[in-house]
């Protein structure tokens, strides 16, 4: 039986998959916002001031 996020040889547990997946989604959203800013799409904190 495979235990998810089990410690590796007594070491600390791995980062859970759902956290990695959320981090990837957050990174993609950030890239999208950065790409939008570079392409001149009007959005971001600059517009909120």
């Amino acid at each position: 039986m495979v235990i998810r996020n089990a410690p590796q040889h007594g070491g600390p547990p791995r980062t859970p998959r759902w956290v990695v997946a959320l981090a990837v989604v957050a990174g993609l959203l950030l890239l999208l916002l950065l790409a939008g800013a570079l392409l001149g799409v009007d959005h971001g904190p600059g517009l909120h001031s």
Partner: protein, 171 residues
């Protein structure tokens, strides 16, 4: 540090109340923004912008700050800790992000309300921005609710070290 049960229950009550209130206020903002974005009635749009501005400062911001502060207190006063479990860390990041964007966005709501005040009967510019931002907030807050209810397993390195230290035999 673990607080007495009466303190933990008080902070939990404050956290649940403020978080549920924040979510409900965001749903109201979504509905109001949808009405504003899809309306051709200038008076309705003006009223919508003015109400959204008031909801932002008088309801959304206080509830968001109360939810964030009570959540941090709740984690510090219970064995969950602030950075021991991944679900707590992710929920904290989501709440800080949502509160930060909300605080920034109050500026936009203020500008839309100022435009609506000046327009006085004439047409005001339509904007889908409040709808997009309130829908984004709704998704983020629903994510936080899912994390709170399911509490997915997963210790951080710090949480694991604390757990190991707690298990170590004492001399």
């Amino acid at each position: 540090m673990t607080a007495p049960p009466v303190v933990r229950k008080a902070t939990l009550t404050l956290h649940v109340t403020s978080s549920v209130g924040w979510l409900g206020a965001v749903v109201v903002a979504v509905a109001l923004s949808a009405v504003v974005a899809g309306s051709s009635d200038a008076q309705l749009v003006r009223a919508g912008y003015l109400v959204l501005d008031r909801i932002g400062w008088w309801v959304l911001v206080p509830l968001a700050v109360a939810s964030l502060v009570s959540g941090v207190l709740q984690s510090l006063l219970t064995p969950w800790g602030l950075v021991r479990h991944w679900w707590v860390v992710v929920k904290l990041v989501l709440t800080v992000l949502a509160t930060g964007v909300l605080l920034l966005y109050t500026g936009t709501l203020g500008r839309l309300a100022a435009t609506a005040r000046i327009a006085d009967g004439s047409a005001v510019p339509l904007s889908s921005s409040p709808l997009v931002h309130s829908l984004g907030a709704l998704v983020v807050l629903l994510g936080a609710v899912v994390l709170s209810v399911h509490k997915p397993r997963g210790l951080t390195r710090y949480g694991w070290r604390m757990q190991q230290a707690g298990r170590a035999p004492r001399a």
